[in-house]
């Protein structure tokens, strides 16, 4: 009798653990992603880095923590699409730098308004080459935003090559823009436009 009780208690315990703790059953890509997000949140919550006068310092630290998980070269390749192939190695290098800056300028500033949002893993899939981690951000207003991370599954560790927010792929969004410019004008003009934006 007692044994049965213990067994069932263990069963229920394990089941509830499995259900409630996404980290427990999160595999390698999900774990890596959550660790990075947690590191980011830790910086945003750090009292010594709070306040308007610490903005630059906070953004810089955050960038150092989260940028290694992004594969900016892969993102740049995909954002340029079929135009990547015709570029010289120097042009490729320059483009990766410019695209990284677009990402940095666009998204690191968004963290200034952080107000206790939470991130949970919904599901994750992986195969030999790729991994997808579906997460959702729960805001303090109770709204849920679905954010999927597409990753390259390298032996050295997973790296993100695309972020899909509510169905909108970041890389596809930029590819549409670049394509639209490149249909009408040259690659040099595209670079000029990006540089003008960043100056």
């Amino acid at each position: 009798m007692n044994y049965r009780k213990i067994t069932s208690a263990l069963c229920i315990g394990m089941l509830s653990l499995a259900v409630t703790s996404p980290l427990l059953w999160a595999g390698e890509p999900g774990k890596l992603l959550m660790e990075t997000i947690d590191k980011g949140f830790a910086i945003l919550k750090d009292p010594s880095l709070k306040g308007d006068e610490k903005v630059q310092e906070r953004r810089q630290k955050l960038w150092e923590e989260i940028s290694p998980i992004f594969n900016f070269e892969e993102m740049s390749k995909r954002a340029l699409g079929q135009h990547w192939k015709g570029r010289t190695p120097e042009e490729k290098k320059e483009f990766v730098v410019l695209f990284t800056n677009i990402m940095k300028d666009a998204y690191i500033g968004k963290t200034d308004t952080y107000s206790g949002e939470k991130v949970v893993i919904v599901s994750e899939k992986q195969d030999k080459k790729y991994a997808t981690v579906q997460t959702k951000i729960i805001t303090n207003k109770g709204t849920e935003i679905s954010v999927d991370y597409n990753m390259l599954n390298n032996p050295a560790g997973c790296t993100i090559y695309d972020v899909i927010i509510e169905g909108v792929s970041l890389v596809n969004n930029y590819r549409s823009q670049f394509n639209n410019i490149l249909i009408k004008s040259s690659y040099q003009e595209l670079i000029q436009k990006i540089k003008a934006k960043q100056s």
Binding site: A18, K77, G81, W84, K85, V168, S169, N172, N173, S176
Partner: protein, 292 residues
């Protein structure tokens, strides 16, 4: 205990093992061994990127086709021609659309944003969320009927239950206990989706003054939703046109003040071409909502 663990493992394994849906016209039975060297080669000189991109655009152009996972798309033929990558949506009205987009953008920054910023400073966020809940609750028939039209009977039931709970326990809809206490999620269903599910094509992209991005299909959808919206009926029977417009504007400004304004800026500000960025975001988001 082991049974539980085992079941979990099996569930998880089956999720992974499940082949991702492959869009039409793609060879799906190519052995993995044959694939790999091709991919590696493609990867080195960057060709995979545009094969993936071409695949995605092709897939999204069909709109209602099953989503093809990027992992399955290496088999797309490689093409180097710039113009062969089809856009997500046809945009023959681009010169007109760009003009309206510029007008809307100016209207947003110089007229609407100052209004809602002032509104924000007077009304706390909690109250604004309550106002949104109230309007959302009133507009329940839009979601309810579109669930029915799309054959989502469970969704329609959820919407009905939400309406009953929120109208009573939620104090005339100002609160959302149906979600917070009963975990009944709002069913985002609109007439544009209904039309898409009944195989209507999206048609060309249109930007409306003040209303923003849309397509032919979603414009018809807007009209359909307006017909299902009790606010429209209340305005028609009990209010003057100006009061009705006031109601609508208030709902819109309130929505903008909570998060829609930020969303708009998040899309257009970091963009190199804000017009295309908004168009692409709109279309990608619609495709996701139709698939759901």
């Amino acid at each position: 205990m082991f049974v539980v663990v085992f079941t979990m493992c099996v569930c998880k394994a089956s999720v992974w093992a499940e082949p991702s849906p492959v869009s039409e016209g793609q060879p799906s039975e190519i052995p993995q061994e044959e694939k790999t060297p091709v991919i590696n080669k493609a990867n080195e000189d960057g060709e995979l990127k545009h094969t993936v991109s071409a695949g995605q655009s092709d897939n999204t152009r069909k709109e209602d086709a099953t989503p093809a996972d990027t992992t399955q798309e290496e088999e797309e033929p490689i093409n180097n021609d710039v113009k062969e990558e089809p856009p997500l949506v046809k945009d023959p009205l681009q010169p007109y659309n760009r003009a309206i987009f510029t007008f809307n953008d100016k209207a947003y920054h110089y007229f609407i944003k100052p209004i809602y910023t002032g509104y924000n400073s007077m009304i706390p966020e909690k109250a604004r969320v309550s106002v949104r809940n109230f309007f959302t609750n009133i507009k329940m028939p839009v979601r309810f009927f579109n669930c029915l039209f799309q054959g989502e009977f469970k969704g329609a039931g959820t919407e009905f239950a939400r309406f009953v709970i929120n109208s009573t326990v939620g104090v005339a809809g100002f609160f959302d206990p149906a979600k917070s206490k009963f975990h009944l999620e709002k069913q985002e269903r609109d007439f544009g989706q209904t039309l898409a599910k009944h195989k209507m094509n999206s048609g060309v992209y249109i930007v409306w003054p003040f209303l923003g991005p849309s397509t032919v299909r979603d414009t018809v959808g807007l009209a359909g939703d307006a017909a299902l919206n009790p606010l429209g009926w209340i305005s028609y029977f009990f209010l003057t046109p100006l009061e009705g417009f006031g109601n609508y504007s208030y709902d819109t400004v309130n929505d903008l003040s909570i998060d829609k304004g930020t969303t708009y800026e998040n899309i257009t500000k970091p963009a190199i071409d804000p017009y295309i960025a908004l168009q692409d975001a709109y279309v990608q988001n619609r495709i996701k909502k139709i698939k759901e």
